[in-house]
Symmetry: C2
Subunit: 337 residues, 2 copies
């Protein structure tokens, strides 16, 4: 098989998470909209190939764009995959602020890209000037995550604009945008080199249903259609996404409660470790040399968090849970430390 694959490691999927306290994958502890659940129970026609017009029109309305500005994907991962497949060729240079969302380097390496890693600053803020300066005639793509994952911070608007204006293609992963309340999707009208990636896995609580999308200039979307799966999203999932988009109250409630709980968790965690402020539904906790021990001790107590040591030594990424989850985490840490 292809040469690039030999050096790659697959993304490891953990199983048997169902009975654990899950603070590792930034899922939605509030579930999803009840309206979605009700609708899916009534859904018929599993035997028919999906149709997406209705969801595409809802997305167009949501972001004041046209339906031709969107393509649906099997979660945000598939969105990232088709953008990279479309824009990047073997040996092309890709500017990648690091650490970043784990699937970005996986897909880039599989494609044989040359990755120019630009480290986040020491305080984990976005290295705007360094990214800008690193763009040159050999750059094929700049891959950004805003708000950042795992770093949690945001890219300052003027810096982002400057990068997009200088850059060739820019991928902007907005998986966590609801938690900061600002999406740059409307910018695809003025920047024809911008690809926005979004997902229904976080604020909408539909991670199991695998729905994401790319928003971009119409011509870019037309090109992506040539390499995308024609039927990339389940018909049930497409219907769920449409209902989820319409239920503004649910997503708003999720964001509000997440802010309240994050504040609570942050304050409580500070008795045990340094905590980085974030604009997402997770916190970054610095346990230094103890981080792996804390990770394991939590795991033994049935609490899953994300060990970031391979990219951010000493850090654990902790999804903000409901109050009872957050309390259980703090109790466990009291026992451990």
């Amino acid at each position: 098989m292809r040469e690039e694959l030999k050096a790659l490691e697959p993304y490891m999927v953990r199983s048997n998470r169902i009975n654990a306290q899950r603070m590792d994958l930034n899922e939605n502890p509030y579930g999803c909209s009840k309206k979605v659940m009700k609708e899916l129970r009534r859904f018929k026609g599993y035997e028919l190939y999906p149709e997406y017009d209705s969801l595409l029109e809802a997305l167009a309305e949501e972001f004041s764009l046209k339906k031709e500005n969107f393509i649906l994907t099997c979660g945000g991962d598939d969105a990232i995959r088709i953008i990279i497949d479309g824009c990047v060729d073997r040996g092309n240079n890709v500017v990648l602020p690091s650490p970043t969302y784990s699937m970005l380097p996986v897909f880039l390496k599989a494609k044989g890209a040359r990755i120019s890693e630009i480290p986040y600053k020491k305080d984990l803020s976005f290295p705007s000037d360094e990214v800008f300066d690193s763009i040159d005639r050999n750059t094929a793509l700049i891959a950004l995550v805003n708000p950042g994952n795992p770093t949690g911070g945001i890219i300052e608007e003027k810096g982002l604009q400057r990068i997009i204006e200088k850059g060739p293609y820019v991928l902007l992963d907005e998986t966590y945008w609801h938690f900061v309340g600002k999406s740059y999707a409307s910018w695809v009208k003025k920047h024809d080199n911008l690809f926005i990636v979004q997902s229904f896995s976080k604020a909408y609580g539909l991670a199991g249903l695998r729905i994401g999308f790319v928003a971009s200039d119409e011509k870019n979307i037309e090109e992506l259609r040539k390499i995308a799966l024609p039927y990339s999203v389940s018909s049930l999932s497409a219907r769920a996404a449409e209902i989820a988009l319409a239920d503004k109250d649910f997503a708003r409630m999720v964001v509000e409660r997440t802010q309240v709980e994050k504040k609570y968790l942050k304050r409580a965690l500070r008795h045990f470790c340094e905590v980085k402020d974030t604009h997402t539904n997770f916190l970054l906790a610095y346990f230094g040399e103890d981080s792996k021990d804390v990770f394991k001790a939590l795991e033994q107590r049935g609490i899953l968090v994300r060990d970031m040591s391979s990219v951010l030594p000493g850090y654990l990424r902790i999804s903000v849970g409901k109050r009872k989850d957050n309390r259980a985490l703090i109790s466990a840490l009291k026992e451990i430390k």
Copy 2:
């Protein structure tokens, strides 16, 4: 964007099929197992990332293989995509008997493969000797469909074995295998260059849910995991597939009724056109120069069939429906011809 994309045409997806008589995409006119529908109404946990162990184990049992022999995909298309992405590099030679399933050339061209098209014989039987002879040291992959689509015939077993034994990697798309009752999945134990593609879209009636898989040697599956989406199938869809696999009666009923209806439809169609015998849930009808007119006239009457003229001039591909669908088609043809 990439050079290869310029010359490509996207796969055209038709919308508003819901109120038409759908004989164009070989969907299952009997719907899906009632047990699947019942289970999906009870399903909870849309907010959680999917886990696939349970379905993988069910597949392993079904085909007397190990769960490490399988990877789940977003329909059969995604299975084809990852095999091509793993095995084929720009400029590599791929042996492709033609006409074939429409997504095969799409993904191969997107990858920049050189396609060695081997035409099916005049009677639409599989060109076994010609495929065998065309395999040489430059061949990276041989992409086969059995039973064939749109040709509908089967590959004779000894010829298939000979090709696999001579060949480098062999992709064998078995989307329609239930209708002939024979899968070669167990051959992955003795041929480590064989990739079997299957789908839940046909006999199981789950086209809307986007579930497919690759069966292959463990080491190949390990490589495919590096380029596949880690969460390629919705959690609901994975559960549906597991229930569908267990409900042997439903799939058996579908195959039996399809045989009966195919016999009826074939006999009735012969008053209007030549009909090719098939081992699938569709028929190939030869209307010669009239084919485009017949296609349009049927469409005007709300009956969708598949115009194959771009690859098989004069032919329409017609999915076998329920008795009332088949009767309605015949009535429409009486009006038209």
